[in-house]
């Protein structure tokens, strides 16, 4: 089945190049279904993927990533680099030059002032902008003339493509949003529900959390595109129902993010009405080890380094045994199908950052795990559970509520019982687990368990900020109100030093080498146990052509190129 979808994917990609020259609007209507309905069309007020992707059909950034992770110019003609002078030699400024003749969907011209406004809109302290981190270290954004924008950073940025790049940073019209700065941003419902943009479509009706009706943008820069005259973008229901509407009933042309059992998905695909497509980005489902002690008896010091180290997870033998007893290929095949590959790294892509030093974990070896534990002094007790110096290997393993995750838990519990480890399973509603509510003991930051499982991801193609998650200062503690990214409570001075070095390194090969070293450090010291490299699975009707799935940006990035077969 994997080969089949690979062949179909390649064929689709090739057919894009040879597509017939259609006129704008000649292919009629297209139906898209996202089972999580978009709630707002302003990505600056929402970070939800569904909102980012639906708005990407209407508003666009200056540049974005293509399906291979390469930067491509979108509203500009060339990407500024140090070589062509767009980026200054001290790496502190970057200058973007807009393409000629760009128009907003209401007819007015796109100018550099709109770009400057966009930056100020997001950087306003009272606005609660969800994409603020992409504008990190920006000191000033100014318009040198009507078509040139200069961004100045406070520190040298080897990777200056944060602002205005990707679906999280689209350009909005200054005239439309002029009264919506700061605290007024959420009140501009009309603007938030119908932004004026440069994209191939514009909004005719928006019903929040329900459906969006769009029509082709008459001012779009390519007069022959988009091929579709109108769009219905529906939301609601669940992934299985969405898959059904594309693959079995034919009511919809495109369905996004189909996280369902692979056996069901391939059965639906066999009906012959649609094709399942998948591609891989940076998402890795992993087990986060807790290197501190989650014992409730510790009270306030629970799950902090101040409460002492974990009774047994700080023993490298235990962590190694736990990792090597897992059959990742089976987990991928049963739970994810085409949407998952086994992995032993926390950075699975882009290719230059991938390390090969840890791949021995890909093979399950229960006997080896048992030997490792025996040799380290963990002997089986009368109940079959290993213990040493009175400490039993009993693990509380928590994750969010999700059928695939529960199946993974069931597998891992069984394998660990074969090596003499007792496991208690716990699952928590996603809105609680991933929320930051400080009164709840079940959030993933608090990590009041021994092992927790979830998927983490970084946006774009540069892992610098991502690797910075595991420095010593990122521990969630009561003092930081449990904010922080370092869930395993990993602390290593060498790691911190390398991360600082990465921030100042400009050469791409050096950066790749440092990232690989950081990745290996985390893996070999067992701060986390990666399981599956997860991809995105979507489906499109066989009557829809031109679809190129893209996990580095919005999946609808090339919706202007879609056509009816």
């Amino acid at each position: 089945m994997k080969i089949k979808s690979l062949v179909i994917g390649t064929a689709t990609a090739l057919s894009v190049a040879s597509m017939a020259m259609a006129d704008r609007g000649s292919d009629g209507h297209v139906n898209i279904i996202y089972w999580q309905a978009p709630s707002i069309l302003n990505p600056y007020l929402s970070g939800g993927t569904k909102d980012l992707e639906s708005s990407s059909m209407i508003i666009e950034p200056l540049a974005r990533y293509d399906q291979d992770g390469n930067l491509v110019p979108w509203l500009v003609d060339t990407i500024p680099t140090v070589d062509n002078g767009g980026v200054s030699a001290d790496l502190k400024t970057i200058t973007w030059k807009l393409s000629e003749g760009l128009k907003w969907s209401d007819g007015s011209a796109v100018t550099a002032h709109d770009v400057v406004f966009t930056a100020n809109y997001c950087m306003d302290p009272a606005g609660g902008c969800a994409q603020l981190n992409k504008l990190a270290d920006v000191e000033n954004v100014e318009a040198l003339d009507d078509h040139t924008v200069k961004v100045t950073f406070g520190v040298p940025k080897p990777f200056p493509y944060g602002p205005f790049v990707g679906s999280e940073q689209p350009i909005i019209q200054k005239a439309q949003f002029a009264d919506c700065m700061g605290a007024k941003a959420p009140e501009c419902t009309e603007q938030n529900f119908g932004p004026i943009g440069t994209g191939p479509f514009r909004v005719t009706e928006f019903k929040a959390n329900d459906v969006i009706s769009m029509e082709a943008n008459p001012m779009y820069r390519d007069p022959a595109k988009p091929a579709f005259a109108s769009v219905t973008f529906k939301g609601g229901g669940d992934a299985a129902a969405a898959a059904r509407t594309v693959l079995e009933t034919g009511e919809f042309d495109y369905a996004w993010n189909l996280q369902i059992d692979p056996a069901i998905l391939s059965d639906m695909e066999a009906a012959g009405k649609g094709t399942v497509i998948s591609s891989f980005g940076t998402a890795v489902e992993r087990l986060m080890v807790n290197l501190s002690n989650p014992d409730p008896a510790l009270g306030d010091k629970r799950s902090t380094l101040a409460g002492g180290p974990h009774p047994f997870l700080t023993d490298p033998a235990v962590r190694k045994a736990l990792s090597v007893s897992i059959d990742r290929s089976l987990l991928a095949e049963v739970g994810y199908g085409a949407a998952g590959k086994p992995t032993c790294n926390v950075v699975p892509g882009p290719a230059i950052y991938v390390s090969t030093a840890n791949d021995e974990c890909l093979v399950q070896d229960i006997a080896k795990a048992n030997n490792i534990l025996e040799a380290a002094g963990w002997k089986r007790g009368s109940d079959g559970i290993r213990a040493k110096d009175g400490v039993r290997l009993s693990i509380l393993y928590q994750t969010s509520t999700n059928a695939v995750r529960q199946d993974t838990q069931a597998f891992i519990k069984q394998w660990w019982s074969e090596i003499g480890v007792e496991t208690e399973l716990k699952n928590i509603s996603a809105s609680v687990f991933f929320g930051g509510d400080q009164s709840s003991p079940d959030t993933y930051q608090k990590h009041f368990s021994d092992i927790e499982m979830y998927t983490n991801i970084f946006s774009g193609t540069d892992p610098e900020a991502y690797m910075g998650s595991w420095v010593c200062s990122e521990h969630p503690t009561p003092e930081t109100n449990w904010m922080g990214n370092n869930m395993p409570r990993y602390c290593n001075a060498e790691y911190d030093a390398l991360v600082a070095e990465l921030a100042g390194t400009a050469n791409i090969d050096d950066r790749a080498r440092i990232v690989r070293t950081l990745n290996d450090m985390l893996m070999q010291e067992g701060a986390m146990i990666p399981l599956i490299h997860r991809g995105r699975v979507s489906a499109h009707s066989n009557k829809l052509g031109g679809v190129i799935q893209n996990t580095w940006d919005s999946e609808l990035w090339n919706v202007a190129d879609w056509y009816r077969n």
Binding site: A263, V334, Q414, L425, S429, A430, P441
Partner: protein
């Protein structure tokens, strides 16, 4: 006098049993229910396959000698899951029902009988009706899960939590209905007669009012067993239920709904189990209602 009373009492229950026996559906329902209960309680002693054992090579199989009801997507035996799930579901259903009926009848009778308490108690009912179930559950779980887990162990702790949550949120309709009937019965002549004879309030309630409002209580009780089992499945689906390695009929049904086209029998078994249990309980309730109602009895 005493002798007459005691013979009267034993013959009254004997009458009830005789009337119950004439209701064929009720008798069949009772047999089926006890059969299911017996299977679920003692079945695992004979069918010893572990419901959680994953045998990946045997996944998504149809019925066979080794797996009489087939296997699920991880190769776990459906039959042993059904037996284990039955224990939990039946226990949750019956206990939650008992709690809500007890509480509902108490509030309903007091509210209908004592006029002064009617207003405040009915406003309390309104309050509980208006509370959203899910946030209430989230709060209860957050506050009590860890303490109960520490006191009773993970399974019993969650069981107490779920049963209390369902019981606390389903007593309101029963209270309203009982109150309505108590208000009607209170105005009947025989109540007036009993009061003029000097009967105390407690005796009035237990000997005169309560037996006459048995009918709606029975119907509500039987409906609430079904509701409790299904509510428990909805809770598991939201992550507020038992840990995922605990099978229950509701969860089995929910997990298999998406596999309907691939392996339809996986949906039928838990669905059938739930339906049969609910049906038999309902028929028993019907028979009991007929038997306890003095106007129908001995007709």
């Amino acid at each position: 006098m005493t002798e007459e009373l005691s013979t009267k009492r034993s013959s009254q229950w004997r009458d009830v049993w005789l009337q119950f026996k004439t209701h064929r559906g009720a008798v069949i329902g009772m047999i089926v229910f006890f059969l299911i209960g017996f299977l679920v309680a003692f079945g695992p002693l004979f069918w010893t396959l572990d419901p959680n054992f994953i045998d990946i090579r045997a996944r998504n199989q149809g019925p066979s000698l080794l797996h009489p009801m087939g296997t699920d997507q991880l190769g776990r035996d459906t039959f042993s899951n059904l037996l284990a799930g039955g224990r939990v579901s039946l226990l949750v259903g019956v206990t939650a029902m008992a709690l809500s009926v007890l509480f509902g009848t108490l509030i309903g009778v007091i509210s209908g009988f004592f006029k002064r308490l009617d207003g405040p108690l009915m406003r309390l009912t309104d309050l509980f009706l208006a509370l959203p179930l899910l946030p209430l559950l989230l709060v209860m779980i957050m506050l009590f899960r860890d303490t109960l887990r520490g006191l009773f162990g993970p399974e019993t702790g969650i069981f107490i939590l779920i049963v209390s949550a369902i019981g606390l949120t389903s007593w309101m309709p029963i209270a309203r209905i009982v109150r309505g009937d108590v208000l009607a019965v209170k105005e009947r002549e025989f109540v007036l007669a009993a009061r003029s004879l000097g009967t105390h309030n407690t005796q009035m309630i237990t000997r005169h009012i309560l037996p006459n409002v048995m009918s709606p209580i029975m119907v509500s009780a039987t409906l609430s067993v079904a509701a409790a089992i299904i509510t428990e499945s909805a809770l598991s689906f939201l992550g507020l239920g038992f840990p995922s390695d605990f099978p229950t009929w509701g969860r089995l049904l929910y997990d298999s709904t998406n596999f309907m086209k691939l392996s339809p029998e996986r949906v039928i078994y838990p669905g059938l189990a739930i339906s049969l249990t609910v049906l038999s309980v309902n028929y028993i309730g019907d028979g009991l209602r007929d038997a306890l109602d003095p106007r129908i009895r001995g007709r």
